[in-house]
């Protein structure tokens, strides 16, 4: 590094763990510095704009060499200038850039969601402490046996990105992890082993109609549509309902999504209830998340005819 001609500055290493030592040397080849021909060459150093003292001695071939040790370099970034006295002024004649930081922190809490509108897999994670160094972060993925590929690269320091459909292997286990690399090392997150379909985010079903079943029963019939794009899935759904004065929801579980309709009894007569429904893929493992609850649908059950 540094100018090869009049002065050449060498620093090693260029990137150091924060707080560790840095050594530098500056070699002045007098005959190559116009105007430095006469008088004694006095070398000094400036760390950005702060004077730092080095030791100077004669080097090979009539060169002058100054060595400098910075015991605990605790700036994340600085420019180390080699200077010489000239006409009573301090002349900066060479420079080296020094960076300091930490190896990348291990990315944590990796989680992914498959968006069913474009089948992109969006993954999020926590980056951990700032390493202060240029760090390249990529999301890696591999189908079993297949070669690991870069799924996506987060933009501008974000800690999420979306793997496009083309790189996914649907309906089969994939391994997904985050890899962060900088000059001081590499860190990898835990490996997520999932079938992208198991983390599909479903839109809620739509409650289409609710009717009292005739002849004075306390039963109602419900009909619903599953969300667009889930018609081919085996869905497990839940219904909840309550009358305004009820404090808690009544919950009906284990409803088969594809059925599209169901009956339920035990309702009070002439009472307004509000209903909501949600679904998730029944074949999915515990990972699968429920859809949001569907928009509320209100329905008032019919009046009971006066007896006899």
């Amino acid at each position: 590094g540094g100018t090869l001609g009049c002065a050449s500055v060498a620093v090693s290493p260029r990137v150091v763990p924060l707080g560790s030592a840095v050594t530098a040397s500056c070699t002045i080849q007098r005959e190559l510095c116009h105007g430095l021909e006469q008088g004694k060459v006095r070398i000094s150093w400036m760390l950005d704009n702060k004077l730092v003292a080095g030791s100077q001695h004669q080097g090979p071939g009539g060169t002058e060499v100054s060595n400098l040790t910075l015991p605990r370099f605790n700036l994340t970034q600085a420019r180390l200038f080699c200077c010489v006295e000239w006409n009573g002024t301090k002349q900066r004649v060479g420079v080296a850039e020094i960076r300091a930081g930490y190896p990348p922190a291990k990315p944590l809490n990796l989680s992914c969601v498959l968006n069913l509108s474009d089948y992109g897999l969006t993954c999020r994670w926590e980056q951990g402490t700032n390493s202060h160094l240029p760090t390249s972060v990529v999301l890696k993925c591999t189908g079993s046996g297949a070669q690991a590929v870069t799924g996506c690269t987060p933009r501008g320091g974000h800690s999420h990105c979306t793997v496009p459909r083309q790189l996914l292997q649907l309906y089969r286990q994939m391994e997904i992890w985050v890899s962060a690399t900088n000059a001081l090392g590499t860190a990898e997150s835990e490996r997520l082993c999932i079938d992208p379909m198991d983390v599909a985010k479903l839109d809620p079903p739509t409650l289409q109609s609710i009717q009292s079943i005739p002849f004075q029963t306390d039963c109602i019939a419900l009909a619903w549509d599953v969300a667009w794009g889930t018609e081919h899935m085996e869905l497990q759904c839940e219904l909840r309902y309550r009358a305004p004065e009820d404090s808690a929801w009544a919950l009906v579980t284990g409803i088969i999504g594809q059925a599209g309709s169901a009956q339920r009894c035990g309702f009070l007569f002439g009472t307004q209830y509000c209903f909501q429904m949600r679904c998730r893929r029944s074949s999915a493992t515990a990972l699968a998340s429920w859809s949001e609850w569907s928009p509320v649908r209100n329905y008032t059950t019919h009046e009971k005819a006066p007896a006899g």
Partner: protein, 175 residues
């Protein structure tokens, strides 16, 4: 080989039955587009023209109940997915406005085929590894109308192929 007890195999079947249903849904969507935009909707109105066309058909006899043989049935499904994957290029040229749906279909078919291959390997069955790029020649047609009718029959044949493959996978869940 005793298959149905194997937990992984059942999970494979559940997943790829749903996957096949998804693919059938997408093929049906393309058939609706061909009907709506090209007014080609009924097979029995196009039988005469079909005789002039050379439309690829994928054999699946090893998947029929009478002659069912799991290993060869799987291989025939994969071979068929590859044939129809190639001929979808014909559909892409016909329906430029629906390139996205065709690309999704081709990706799903490639995934289904490699899912089956992975499962066959897990079961220790012999498998064929196809080169990634499909070199089969894209069929050519003597007229634009023949090209449209060709596209219609490729989708119709592929839908029938998928129904047979679906029944074979469902049959395996009960073995």
């Amino acid at each position: 080989t005793e298959l149905s007890g194997d937990q992984d195999f059942q999970l494979f079947l559940q997943r790829n039955l749903e996957f096949t249903r998804k693919i059938r849904g997408d093929v049906a969507a393309l058939q609706r587009v061909v009907c709506d935009t090209l007014q080609l909707c009924k097979e029995d109105e196009l039988l005469l023209v079909r005789q002039e066309l050379d439309i690829a058909q994928a054999p699946l006899e090893q998947c029929h109940r009478r002659t069912f043989q799991a290993e060869t049935c799987f291989s025939q499904i994969r071979a068929g997915l590859r044939i129809y994957g190639g001929s979808l290029a014909t559909i892409q040229a016909l329906l430029p406005g629906h390139a996205g749906l065709v690309e999704t279909l081709q990706l799903d078919m490639a995934n289904l085929s490699s899912n089956i291959q992975q499962q066959m390997e897990d079961l220790g069955l012999a498998t064929v590894t196809y080169p990634p790029e499909n070199q089969d020649p894209v069929p050519t047609f003597s007229s634009h109308f023949h090209h449209q009718v060709g596209g219609f029959f490729i989708l119709a044949n592929f839908q029938r192929f998928l129904e047979t493959a679906y029944r074979a996978l469902r049959h395996l869940t009960s073995l």
